[in-house]
């Protein structure tokens, strides 16, 4: 270890070759952290450098990485998230999936900023790391277990000084479902990009960490001061005790009653999330138009109050027995729910269903059966499958069924009528197991559409193969830009006009436009320079967040409260300005885009399904008539990213300006 390692990061990664069971520690120069941070930036750097061009995502050449964040473990708050990175089998481009829990600090406590695995093992294995170093252990007896059973079995099997941090796949990952994720902490999922399929292809059942190495920062006292200041604000942010979930639909209505921007303090969102977690959107999103209905072709008129009221977060929280915090979190959006009665003794508990799961298996399928959603939540967590992708895929099947393109003979007797909760639960079980009609749907909506025939393609809602999150771009068109332009498309956490408003980045970044009270939100339906600039800023700050292990809910609490730039300087000893960090964010995203181009992706092919841009427009509901030109929106985003406006390929000038030549990455693909 190098002498003065007080920079928040460890300065090295572990590379494991599963084909020959060898380990290599690779030192990472400081310059790489200064250019790409850690986390997703380090992951992109390693994939770009070590992954052979054209590698089969499910073959031995793909690299699967588990990366922590630069700020994780430094005493900073809201920075305990980790990512799985790989070449995505779902999109063919850069893949990543983000997760909380306790796994992120465990990566660094093992002595590494990232743990990367290449090759393929002939038999099931698990990687175990403690202070004595890494070992590959036999995991044949774990193969076939679900994620919760796997954690329990490993805890029986391995005794260590420290509580084990375990990331594992379930049956969906084992049989390489392209929408399989990786679970930790009893069912918290790094769900997206098909990362679980890559883990399954490597016959890697689990990564088990028990290291206790110190994580050292340059200025821990300043970090504590920043943390205490943030904690004080979070502690003071509470809704009045009389606030109930019944008020949320009214809040949603009031938010869309005006076309004018209201830049409220992000701490209001913190107070709401403290009370309900992400579930506050379950009903508020219905009246706002944010929550998709009936495979994105319906509105609240199709799923009215008498149906969506069952998703009131107060009703869901009646089952909550305990709040759940990720490591270093002071908000605590998670919860554990008792479902012993609901599931008739099949499952004792489940993580509180996130909004994404409630929407994907509620309004998207016109399913008002709340109990079924609790069970589906646990089935997917245990099976190791992405709830967003699974819900979108079943919605697609239901629309095909509605059109008589699918018959009960094809579905194995399943009546895929809208809202048929019993059939939905059965289909989820089939998808996880990869059997019966579930075998057709197990790889996501794009694959299912290809199997069922080209005619069904317009009904398959995805961007570049990835099913979109449960937030409607017809309400917030900048969200649609990110669904379509991100190197990991279809993702709802990259950016949106609303996120931009909440984060108040203009207080730190001198060139970021301020959102003024009363600004016309309709301007965001046009491909203007202002829209291009906002979407580019969204991307840059999100990359910084994902390079730091930061939580999205800290970001939208406002950068005036969550002082990420000050944290980074205190952790590393750098003296960078927010503007300089934004250049790092731009560089990180450009590297991910260059990776995609190198792998043969045409960025324009990631354009989301036209239904999401209002083509054709909805005829009812709060988004009635809303539409925008997604092609023009993509062009303006590319332009502000410094990429070719027509093709989305990073230009030679952009790569040069961002210093790729200095990094001996001059071969990075450019337009």
């Amino acid at each position: 270890m190098r002498g003065d390692f007080l920079k928040g990061y460890c300065g090295k990664i572990l590379m494991v070759d599963l084909s020959d069971s060898t380990f290599e520690e690779i030192e990472i120069p400081d310059m790489i952290y200064e250019h790409f941070l850690s986390g997703v930036g380090l992951g992109a750097y390693i994939l770009y450098k070590y992954l052979p061009q054209g590698a089969d995502p499910l073959g031995p050449d793909n690299i699967l990485g588990f990366v922590s964040g630069l700020l994780t473990g430094t005493g900073s708050f809201m920075t305990g998230r980790w990512l799985a990175v790989c070449k995505s089998p779902l999109t063919g481009g850069f893949g990543d999936a983000n997760c909380g829990g306790t796994f992120s600090p465990a990566i660094k406590q093992s002595g590494y900023d990232g743990i990367f695995l290449k090759g393929q093992s002939p038999t099931p294995k698990m990687l175990f790391i403690d202070n004595n170093g890494p070992q590959l252990l036999d995991a044949a007896d774990l193969w076939g277990l679900d994620t919760v059973e796997t954690e329990a079995a490993i805890n029986q099997k391995i005794t260590a000084n420290k509580k084990l941090a375990i990331a594992t796949i379930g049956p969906a990952g084992e049989h390489q479902s392209l929408i399989a994720g990786i679970s930790n902490d009893g069912g918290r999922m790094a769900a997206r990009s098909g990362v679980g399929a890559v883990m399954g292809s490597k016959k890697l059942k689990a990564v088990v960490l028990a290291g206790s190495k110190m994580i050292r920062s340059r200025d821990p006292q300043t970090i504590k001061t920043i943390s205490r200041d943030y904690a004080k604000k979070v502690k003071a942010s509470n809704l009045p005790p009389l606030a109930t979930g019944a008020m949320l639909p009214m809040m949603g209505k009031s938010m869309v009653a005006t076309d004018k921007a209201i830049p409220i303090d992000g701490m209001l969102s913190t107070a709401i999330i403290k009370k309900w977690g992400t579930g506050f959107t379950n009903t508020m999103g219905m009246t706002m138009g944010d929550t998709p209905v009936k495979n994105w072709k319906g509105s609240v008129a199709d799923f009215p109050y008498r149906k969506y009221r069952h998703m009131n977060p107060d009703q869901i929280q009646k089952h909550e027995t305990q709040k759940y915090h990720c490591y270093s979190c002071v908000i605590g959006c998670g919860g554990v729910c008792d479902i012993n009665g609901i599931s008739k003794g099949r499952f004792s508990h489940t993580h509180k269903p996130e909004y994404e799961t409630v929407a994907a298996f509620g309004s998207l399928l016109l399913n008002k059966d709340r109990d079924s959603i609790f069970i589906i939540n646990e089935l997917l967590n245990r099976g190791g499958m992405d709830s967003i992708s699974a819900g979108n895929t079943i919605a697609f099947a239901m629309e095909c069924y509605e059109k008589d393109w699918l018959s009960p003979e094809v579905t194995g007797g399943l009546e895929l009528t809208w809202g048929n909760a019993e059939a939905i639960v059965t289909l989820v079980e089939q998808m996880i197991a990869g059997v019966d009609f579930g075998a057709i749907l197990q790889h996501g909506v794009k694959k299912a559409s290809e199997i069922l025939g080209i005619e069904s393609a317009p009904l398959a809602i995805h961007a570049g193969g990835q099913e979109p999150g449960m937030h409607d771009p017809r309400l917030d068109p900048i969200l649609g830009i990110h669904y379509s332009c991100d190197p990991t498309p279809g993702r709802h956490t990259i950016g949106a006009g609303s996120y931009y408003t909440y984060m108040r980045i203009w207080e730190d970044v001198t060139w970021a436009p301020k959102v003024k009270l009363g600004e016309d939100k309709n301007n965001e339906y046009e491909a203007t320079n202002q829209v291009g600039l906002k979407s580019m800023i969204n991307v840059c700050i999100k990359q910084i967040l994902d390079g730091s292990g930061g939580c999205f809910f800290a970001l939208v609490s406002g950068l005036n409260h969550f002082k990420i730039f000050d944290y980074l300087n205190a952790a590393t000893g750098w003296q960078k300005t927010p503007n300089e960090y934004m250049t790092i964010g731009l560089r990180m995203q450009t590297l991910r885009q260059a990776f995609n181009v190198r792998e043969g992706i045409n960025p324009r092919d990631f354009k989301m399904n036209e239904r999401l841009s209002g083509n054709p427009p909805l005829k009812e509901g709060p988004l009635k008539g809303k539409h925008f030109n997604i092609d023009e929106m993509m062009s303006i985003h590319y332009q502000f990213m410094g990429w070719d406006k027509k093709t989305g390929i990073p230009t030679k000038t952009a790569l040069s300006d961002l210093g790729f030549c200095d990094l001996e990455m001059e071969g990075a693909t450019h337009g």
Binding site: P105, K163, A231, H325
Partner: protein, 70 residues
């Protein structure tokens, strides 16, 4: 010989962030005390009193300085 000092948590200051629990090299601290605030968050307790070596790592890591060694 006097016993080593052990961590004592000030719940007025504690934010239930789990840093002490995650950083303890012997996992002596568990998040399971739920009668502290109106959200029923899980706060830390020293679960393994005799296993704790009094290394002070939890106290040093706590951003809120909510842990005293006593």
């Amino acid at each position: 010989m006097a016993d080593k000092k052990k961590p004592v948590i000030d719940y007025e200051l504690c934010m239930a962030c789990g840093i002490c629990s995650g950083d303890c090299p012997l996992s002596c601290i568990a998040l399971r005390k739920t009668d502290i605030d109106r959200y029923q968050k899980a706060y830390p307790v020293l679960d393994e009193y005799y296993r704790c070596t009094g290394c002070t790592r939890c106290a040093k890591a706590c951003p809120m300085e909510a842990i005293r060694m006593m």
